[in-house]
């Protein structure tokens, strides 16, 4: 069961990373629309009403996804200078502690993100209504942003549980002195 989860963990990581390679093209979109805005404003005195708002929204979702991506790709930053000197046996337990803290973090954040998303999707009287930007364009981007944040948090919960499961499968290896995979 655990080894199955470990394989699933690797598989999901690969999917998240592959999808990240699509998401990152959004940065090129930002370049292009930013350039378009400058040209329209400077050369044609016709600034757009949509570039600024789209840019902040696109950046926000790419940054949120970037956090998930880095977790899958194990690219987040850690201070490992101390734990690097531990015996693999002790290191396994410290890592387990870290894994559990990460699960705690992702669960709490998901709960908070859920409450936020509720407020952004439903009015006080309970009707479905997306929170909008209130600008001249008045897009539902604020609601989408909060919704996407909730989604990212859920992804992090799933990943953190899978990463922990994978770590558990490495118990016997660690006890026989083999160094396991690090989160960073």
């Amino acid at each position: 069961m655990l080894s199955g989860l470990s394989k699933l963990s690797d598989k999901i990581d690969r999917i998240i990373i592959a999808f990240g390679h699509l998401v990152t093209w959004l940065f090129m979109v930002i370049v292009l629309i930013g350039f378009y805005e400058v040209v329209m404003r400077y050369a044609f005195d016709a600034p757009t009403f949509w570039v600024h708002e789209s840019t902040t929204f696109i950046v926000s979702i790419s940054l949120l996804y970037g956090g998930v991506y880095c977790y899958s790709a194990r690219r987040h930053i850690c201070m490992t200078f101390l734990v690097d000197n531990l015996r693999p046996q002790s290191r396994w337990f410290v890592d387990l502690f870290v894994h559990i803290c990460i699960i705690g973090f992702t669960l709490m954040m998901t709960y908070g993100a859920y409450l936020n998303a509720l407020d952004a999707f439903f009015t006080y009287s309970g009707d479905f209504k997306l929170q909008t930007s209130g600008s001249a364009w008045d897009t539902p981007f604020p609601a989408f942003n909060k919704g996407f944040f909730f989604l990212s948090s859920v992804m992090l919960v799933i990943l953190s549980v899978l990463h922990t499961a994978k770590h558990l499968t490495q118990f016997s290896d660690a006890m026989s002195g083999k160094q396991g995979e690090s989160e960073c």
Binding site: G20, L63, G112, N145
Partner: protein, 440 residues
């Protein structure tokens, strides 16, 4: 539960848990947020506050100021993945000639020029980290010196106008942003001057730190080599002129100019026939890797500050200062010390959000010039970018540096530069005229 123990205890609790988790190797992007959410539950005895704490994440990523970060990372990656950067450094090496440490000094000069184009932390470091660092290492420069040059020089982006740090300070403190910009110039130049002097001195004292070309190699240069040098320098120079022109010519905002920069690099790369799908794709992957990691460190700080303010931490800090019966000068020094300590653990924006509402009224009450204090704050944040354990400059560099450079290597390299930054603060406190003459 925690609230029964008081805010002083809670502050200690936050610090200790951060250090423990840090040493255990928890990813920094999750660590501060975990502490923030956990403390919010322990202090308020309810999960409801997590809505606010978590909500700060999407507020933060929505902030327009961050748009420039991915743009600069993208621009840097493109310069690196095409041959533009390498050619530039080969040329710079020849120009430096027999001057020991010449390429590092030139890199510092490049850093100052880049600082006038970039207003945020990160963009410049990534740029220098991808371009200058591997090249200096290739040319045989000492690793620590090269790393220090890149992080300290890159951090100047927020010291030299335009600077988001000064803008946020100006808005929070309601002081003239123009005066802040003017006052920051001499401070930035003092910093850069010190860095350069240090580089030249240490390369002079320790042979091998900054190897120069020998006479023989210089003698072998042909006319064709010189033409190539001129060409290799002119392309990056054109990109710089394009970006500077778009900012100072009123064409693009500082943030938009980062987009303009990417476009310019893509045009130059096309001219050099180097713009391929792989180059662009690799650059984009580098971008999501860097920003995904870095932004989450800032996210943690903003979560923590939100909770801490709600717990009344702001009052705790302000009472701590007001209750001390000390001379005005000591108050300033004390504030600087608090900023340095906070800067070790929090992103600058978190530090600013927590302390500026408290510090600025006190400063004005004591009769100090808020513009001068703003520049001082800005220099102090230069320290925060470099200081471990949370040193954004170090993290940015780590995300793009060659894999054999560890975070420990980076933090080992920064301390001479931190000392120079603290010396600069000393100069500005002892001789405020150095700044104030610019605008009064």
């Amino acid at each position: 539960m925690l609230s029964a123990m008081g805010i002083g205890f809670a502050t200690l609790f936050i610090l200790v848990s951060m250090i423990v988790l840090l040493l255990a190797g928890m990813p920094l992007g999750f660590l501060t947020g975990f502490v923030a959410l956990g403390v919010s539950y322990l202090w308020f005895d309810t999960g409801a506050v997590m809505q606010m704490v978590a909500g700060r994440v999407s507020d933060f990523t929505e902030g327009y100021t961050f748009v420039a970060v991915p743009m600069f990372v993208l621009m840097a990656s493109l310069l690196d993945k095409t041959g533009i950067a390498k050619d530039l450094y080969n040329a710079m090496r020849i120009i430096a000639g027999r001057l020991k440490g010449g390429v590092a000094v030139q890199s510092m000069a490049v850093a100052v020029v880049l600082a006038t184009m970039c207003g945020i932390i990160g963009g410049e470091i990534v740029l220098l980290g991808m371009i200058a660092l591997p090249q200096m290492l290739r040319l045989g420069y000492n690793k620590n010196l090269a790393i220090g040059t890149v992080v300290a020089g890159g951090a100047l982006g927020t010291m030299m106008p335009p600077s988001i740090v000064l803008i946020i300070y100006g808005l929070t403190a309601n002081t003239s942003i123009g005066d802040l910009f003017l006052g920051a110039v001499p401070a930035a130049l003092i910093l850069a001057g010190m860095y350069m002097t240090y580089i030249l001195a240490i390369c002079h004292i320790k042979p091998g730190y900054g190897p120069a070309m020998d006479a023989e190699e210089l003698g072998q240069l042909t006319r064709a080599d010189l033409i190539k040098i001129a060409r290799d320098i002119s392309m990056p120079l054109m990109i710089a002129v394009w970006i500077l022109g778009s900012i100072y010519g009123g064409i693009a905002s500082v943030t938009e100019s980062a987009c303009m920069g990417v476009v310019a690099v893509m045009i130059v790369a096309t001219l050099r026939r180097e713009l391929t799908f792989t180059v662009v794709f690799d650059a984009l992957i580098q971008t999501i890797r860097t920003v995904g990691m870095i932004i989450w460190v800032g996210i943690g700080a903003t979560m923590l500050i939100g909770v801490y303010n709600l717990m009344g931490g702001d009052k705790f800090v302000s009472n701590m200062i007001l209750s001390l019966d000390i001379s005005p000068l000591t108050v300033i020094l004390f504030m600087m010390a608090i900023l340095i300590v906070l800067g070790m653990f929090l992103d600058w924006i978190g530090v600013a959000m927590l302390t500026m509402p408290i510090f600025v009224p006190i400063i004005t009450q004591l009769g100090y010039d808020p513009v001068w204090f703003g520049v001082l704050f800005c220099v102090n944040m230069q320290v925060s970018f470099l200081s471990p354990p949370f040193g954004p400059a170090a993290f940015y560099l780590k995300s793009v540096a060659p894999p054999d450079i560890s975070l420990t290597d980076i933090f080992k390299s920064v301390w001479p530069f931190i000392i120079m930054q603290i010396m600069t603060m000393g100069i500005l406190i002892a001789f405020p005229e150095v700044i104030t003459f610019m605008y009064s």
